[in-house]
Assembly symmetry: C2
Homo-oligomer: 475 residues x 2
């Protein structure tokens, strides 16, 4: 009996870190690999390359995918060139979309098809969704007829639907056979697809009748017929269901796998929890990015040119909103020229509004994602946020108003400060609820750019309210 | 044979929405339930309550937990009062921390202990971590001696460690028995813990030797000894491991369950994917919240008083930073009084810096969470972000400078605008990398308040750079 974990998680962590270290610290190694010729003089560079080759041979595909994701383009390609053709497919499947462009661009069509061939059909389909059209055609041509039909079917589902991540490899059994027959059938089959925790019980026309847990086969007497121990009310999905919604259901019901059925109740495939975990991670990532107006395609190691391209649109929007805010201030230049202290005070009003607005919008966007917001509780939410804003406005506006009064020895200016802060916080709270709700009602993703929008409103609003009140009361 | 899904996901969605609707639209119902006396006149309110009772009886615990999370406090308590005592424990386990306070506060200690008793030990431990100390003592007193020891052991692990979410219910087998013996043993046992996809192979002293997949039992001949078909190199965790890191490993290796072993290699328990999915969701939520300075404890339906309390600290910090920025402007009041246009232009410089800084910091925080950032690639990242900032600064600063020139017919002012934007974008990029890296090096969570910090720096910096340059070149 060997000791447990010959190649432990910890060692894998170390090996991944070591590859990164060699490639990043020793630029010559990466460029040496890319140049495809040995770096003659430096003995150590050759040793480094040899060490990387050993590590690459030892590390499983998911680890290699992780390392690729953590490298800038040049080093990424250097490492990619050291991964053998037969392993590249499995590494691609594990890597995130952000690195595919780099890796696929580096391969000839033939090499790419060779890399894809050893994969099972689900993985091929998964990658096919991101391949250039003509390559998909050539990939399809290499497949048997029945697989080709399945792939075509999948390819027309939306990228974020259950259909796009479902798995065709299912084991089905008939309801009237005994568990002994099922077990004999499994032994003859010799293997089961990954993450199989249950078999699907279907009628002859593929209609799903129930699910048979593997544990049920193990726990009950071999003479028991399947229909007696199957779960005849399992959770199922339709291929059109949204993947994030399916993830919530997996979480709620602690599922490992679930059937995907068409509208007639026929079994199409299954969803497994490993895909769901990926969906949850992607959801997280994209929510964070979208709120700030970052593109989902930009990875942290993308070259400068790509980063400039993916970010320019949001920057332009931001500049436009900032310009509008600036023009609002411009309207009050006469006021400011008479009372220059207003120029120093106005960013406080705008800033505090932006902060509160962003807090509110973050909560609402999350609550919408969790499906916690229904028609009935919107007015409650609105009143709650306005209540919080009113109290905070009175307290902190009061503090700031007093400081203004003491600083400029001008009680009226302090009063204007307090009033402006209260009003801008109310605007922030109101828009923090209204913006995401409206976007949802319009069928848009409430996370996209909501942070940019609320900041624009609280800035412009803050300047207008403060300078407007000052013009009314202080001149 | 019955049709599939007698109580479908869709129906459950509808039932959850219906409870929310009744409770939120018809305030009288919620207050009627809370008042514990029937609302005499309104026949329909009584019918509403009866409908809720039916729905509550039908919905599984996770769905009830979801509904509770989507209700304001008053309605939440009304619904809670309609959930029977024996189901309350299982609902609590499924509900998120944010609602526990409300629900637990509403129950007597005795009722709480009664609700916890039907739960299995893992769930009891999970809840015990959040119960008041004295109640934990009383809960422990109701347990058998061996369970008490286990609970005590768990309770001292960190809330975010593997130990805190691990599961004691494991099935172990010896390596030298045959699969037929294992299967007989399972039949005698009669059931297996939820999410069991494998058994653990241990020696007599509990040292983990390997893992036996349930599928291996089904696929191999009954005469095969366990050690021949077990996985002798499985992924294991230590109880001290961080839960988010374990989640990454589950994702990478597509695990359903994994062993937790102590430093001597002895089996302590197991981790299951359902806990991991919860960890991933929590990680998401808390990252989003922390970046904006929102407390993890605030749920969207918390009463105003609680929201004010959880938010005041960040508001105060924000006011302080805004005040500092305001004082920086104050230093240049003389400059502004001479050239009042500066007051309208300065927020553009500050705003664009805040936007860029937040984009950079979001990317870096995510890359840190994904462990993509190593000592070797920091300088690359820094150069990349500075490069992006320089290009964006020259392009958009150029655009803005030109507009300024045309608007105020002052070429020098346009030049100052362009230069200030370039410089502030460089500051934003630099600090967007430096802030999260420094926090990580200091052992702090890089997500906490990083957005507030970067905005403070780009505001203050933007005002200082722009007004400073204006004082130098325009007066």
């Amino acid at each position: 009996m060997t000791a447990i974990q010959k190649y432990s998680t910890k060692e894998r962590d170390q090996d991944r870190a070591r590859i990164l270290q060699i490639l990043l610290m020793n630029k010559a190694v990466a460029s040496g690999i890319l140049a495809k010729e040995p770096i003659a003089e430096t003995q150590s560079a050759e040793q480094d390359i040899a060490e990387i080759v050993t590590l690459v041979g030892r590390l499983p595909a998911p680890d290699l995918a992780d390392v690729l994701e953590a490298l800038p383009t040049e080093e990424r390609l250097a490492l990619w060139s050291l991964i053998t053709e037969e392993r590249r497919g499995s590494v691609l499947v594990e890597a995130s979309e952000t690195v595919w462009d780099d890796l696929i661009a580096d391969m000839s069509d033939k090499a790419l098809l060779n890399a894809l061939r050893p994969l099972d059909i689900d993985d091929q389909i998964y990658l096919a969704q991101y391949l250039p059209r003509d390559l998909v055609g050539r990939l399809l041509a290499t497949m048997p007829q029945n697989e080709r039909t399945q792939v075509r079917q999948i390819l027309h589902y939306d990228k974020h639907s259950v259909g796009a991540i479902m798995d065709f490899e299912v084991i089905t059994v008939r309801p009237d056979v005994t568990l002994a027959v099922v077990q004999r059938y499994l032994r003859i089959r010799g293997k089961v697809p990954q993450n199989t925790d249950k078999l699907f019980v279907t009628s002859r026309d593929k209609t799903l009748l129930g699910e048979l847990d593997l544990t049920a086969i193990l726990l009950h007497s071999p003479q028991t017929p399947v229909f007696k121990v199957m779960d005849d009310n399992p959770t199922c999905f339709a291929p059109e269901d949204h993947d994030e919604k399916a993830a919530r259901t997996f979480e709620r019901d602690d599922l490992i796998s679930a059937a995907v059925i068409d509208s007639a109740g026929k079994l199409m495939g299954r969803l497994t929890v490993d895909e769901i975990v990926d969906v949850v991670y992607e959801e997280t990532d994209s929510d964070l990015r979208r709120m700030g107006g970052l593109s989902a395609e930009e990875d942290v190691f993308a070259p400068v040119s790509k980063a400039v391209r993916t970010r320019w649109a949001w920057l332009a929007i931001n500049l436009c909103t900032a310009f509008v805010a600036s023009r609002v201030i411009g309207l009050f230049e006469h006021t400011i020229s008479q009372l220059v202290a207003l120029a120093s005070l106005m960013p406080i009003v705008a800033g505090i509004g932006g902060n509160t607005g962003n807090q509110t919008i973050t909560m609402i966007v999350r609550a919408l994602a969790l499906q916690h917001i229904q028609a009935g509780n919107i007015s409650f939410l609105m009143m709650r946020e306005l209540g919080v804003a009113l109290i905070n406005g009175l307290v902190w506006g009061g503090v700031m108003g007093t400081i203004t009064w003491l600083l400029y020895n001008d009680a009226a200016m302090g009063g204007v400060m307090t009033l402006a802060m209260v009003l801008n916080l109310l605007v922030a709270a109101l828009m923090g609820v209204v913006i995401p709700m409206t976007m949802t009602r319009l069928g848009k993703d409430p996370a996209v750019g909501s942070s940019v929008m609320i900041t624009a409103i609280t800035d412009t609003g803050g300047f207008f309210i403060f300078l407007g009140l000052a013009t009314l009361f202080l001149l």
